[in-house]
């Protein structure tokens, strides 16, 4: 059971292997995206835009058909994807990549902050709750969190919107910032935060319970481990035992779960963006669907998938950092 130099090399080799398999997966996704037009019936351009609110000029229709004729084959498509040439949106009269990168920061802001805050809160909450296992406060908190976990994002979002935005008017109901306000610096920041508050709260309320409960459950198991007793026996301060010893071990299942659920959490984000008319990728996608704007739909879906793939890859790397057993095991 002794690690040798050879084993360490294998760890690195495994890391490279994972990157490669993810790159392959990304390629597969791009390929599928490339194939999508082939799956559509007949002269889909006409069929699609016939039911759309947008009318195309003959020239635009020809351009679109040309785009979808896929000149240059898959290689060409791949090149176009990588150079951010994602086509032109006839519904919004803007290049697709421009639309994408306009909406992306808002989504990152909303989702990123929501995940970070809910991870931190759920984790710390779970750790502290497990440490006080059996006390009334802990039982209450666990019960509350379980209840909250049962509430789908739609419900929380609608309720919060209704109560705080539409009735009490404490928060705006729409948008990421007040349009045409032309605010600068701190004022602008404040305005953005004000708009961010409700959707962010909804998402946090949706994500925290899962993190909390999982952390708590795995902490309880870790706290029963013999090495925690050793840590106590060594006279270490309780905070150190809780975090440096126990919580670190409890982190692992949390990271795994996050990776597994990431792709599904996007649903909630989409719905929330829609409810609050937050101009992120979700709203973009939704509007594109309404307009039957295929290039936009394709790009958003493809890029999100690759994005999720990237996050999972980072998680795997992080996992290796946390757990030396994986680093060196075969």
């Amino acid at each position: 059971m002794k690690a040798t130099g050879g084993r360490e090399m294998t760890g690195k080799r495994r890391g490279v292997g994972t990157v490669i398999s993810f790159a392959l997966a990304a390629l597969v996704m791009i390929y599928l995206s490339y194939q999508v037009p082939r799956l559509l019936p007949g002269d889909f351009v006409t069929a699609m835009y016939a039911s759309s609110q947008v009318t195309l000029t003959a020239e635009e229709a020809a351009d679109l058909r040309a785009y979808y004729a896929q000149e240059g084959g898959f290689g060409g498509y791949l090149a176009r994807v990588l150079t951010l040439d994602w086509g032109y949106s006839y519904a919004f009269l803007t290049p697709v990549s421009e639309l994408f990168f306009e909406a992306l920061p808002w989504t990152l802001l909303l989702l990123g902050t929501a995940h970070l805050l809910s991870m931190a809160a759920g984790f710390v909450g779970g750790v502290e709750a497990a440490w006080r296992h059996g006390r009334v406060a802990e039982k209450g908190l666990v019960g509350g969190m379980t209840l909250l976990e049962g509430m789908p994002e739609i419900s929380t979002g609608v309720i919060l919107l209704f109560v705080f935005a539409l009735n009490l008017n404490w928060f705006p109901a729409v948008g990421a910032e007040t349009a045409y306000a032309d605010l600068g610096g701190i004022d602008r920041l404040g305005n953005i935060l004000h708009h961010l508050a409700l959707p962010l709260t909804t998402l946090i309320l949706a994500y925290v319970p899962g993190n909390f409960l999982l952390t708590r459950n795995s902490m309880i198991l870790v706290l029963r481990a013999p090495f925690i007793q050793t840590a106590r026996a060594k006279g270490l301060p309780p905070i150190r035992i809780r975090y440096a010893h126990a919580a670190r071990n409890a982190l692992l299942p949390l990271a795994t779960r996050f990776g597994l659920r990431l792709a599904f959490m996007i649903t909630g984000a989409l719905v929330i963006e829609r409810i609050y008319a937050y101009p992120g990728l979700g709203t973009l996608l939704f509007n594109a669907i309404q307009a039957r704007d295929l290039p936009v739909i394709q790009s958003v879906v493809l890029m999100s998938s690759i994005g999720v793939l990237g996050v999972i890859l980072c998680l795997e790397a992080a996992y290796r950092l946390i757990d030396p057993r994986i680093r060196n095991a075969h």
């Binding site: 209840l147 049962g150 309720i159």
Partner: protein, 282 residues
């Protein structure tokens, strides 16, 4: 792996979940019979407040909200059950195959699972719904295609551990065939995992259905809780909070809560390590 029946029935979460699930199941089954009116009948006065004839009032299209609600619950529940069962079937099959046969079968299935897990299912569903306008059941099955990987991972892990367990080895030594072992040792042993997996996937499917409906991706004539919420929300400035907006929100919440509690209760009972125990070191 053993669920103590008495223990399970005493757990408050499980019982609550079971009651809710049964209640909704009942409604789903009897929906059409219980509805006072045909939900597509647009003949009533639009946006009317509740009264003795329309317990939840009438929506903007002149349809009875209560009837809508009943049909909507039915659709959501059906979607969830179908998708959950399909995901369960695929996941168990894949997990068993990967765990039992190992080698290239395992490698292939797990790689496939990893790729599927990275793809945001909702996006593909949206794409499919927008482009092909399929029947809802097709979408349910499509969702199952993205949902089976997590189940298969759990089943695979358990299969691996059972495969090396002593009682399976003993049976193999006695000459048992793979099918026998599957039937007598593996499948029954993992029964609790099926329940948990099914509950989790059904929950997600119902949630998806509501979300997709909310985003307007189903046929507008199909009744759904998500769709009702979406329409009701448009009329927020009118006094429709209690009778039009809240009921579907409440129903959706309770429905999903019920399934969640079932899953939570089962998980708690399944893992005895999570209960309080008096230590007895010697």
């Amino acid at each position: 792996m053993h669920i103590n029946r008495k223990e399970v029935l005493r757990d408050p979460w499980f019982v609550a979940g079971l009651c809710l699930a049964l209640a909704f199941g009942f409604v789903a089954l009897l929906g059409p019979a219980l509805a006072p009116y045909d939900p597509w009948n647009m003949g009533f006065e639009p946006i009317a407040s509740p009264d003795s004839r329309h317990l939840l009032g009438v929506n903007d299209g002149g349809q009875d909200i209560l009837s809508e609600l009943l049909y909507a619950v039915r659709n959501t529940v059906a979607f969830g059950l179908l998708s959950g069962l399909a995901a369960l079937g695929l996941g168990v099959a894949a997990g068993l195959a990967a765990g039992w046969y190992g080698g290239p079968v395992d490698a292939f299935l797990m790689r496939l699972a990893d790729v599927l897990l990275a793809v945001p299912a909702v996006m593909v569903l949206i794409l499919a719904a927008a482009l092909f306008r399929p029947e809802p059941w097709v979408l349910a099955l499509l969702l199952a295609v993205f949902a089976w990987p997590t189940i298969s991972k759990t089943i695979r892990a358990q299969t691996l551990s059972l495969r090396t367990s002593l009682h399976v080895k003993a049976a193999v030594r006695m000459g048992a065939s793979g099918r026998y072992i599957l039937r007598r040792h593996l499948l029954p042993e993992m029964f609790p995992l099926y329940l948990i997996g099914f509950a989790a996937k059904a929950r997600m499917a119902m949630f998806m259905e509501a979300s997709l409906a909310f985003l307007g991706l189903f046929d507008p004539s199909r009744k759904s809780l998500g769709m009702m919420i979406s329409y009701a929300l448009k009329f927020y400035y009118m006094d429709i909070w209690w009778h039009w907006l809240m009921p579907p929100v409440l129903c959706l919440s309770l429905l999903i809560m019920g399934v969640t509690f079932l899953a939570v209760g089962l998980e708690k009972v399944l893992d005895p390590r999570l209960r309080t125990v008096t230590g007895e070191p010697v």
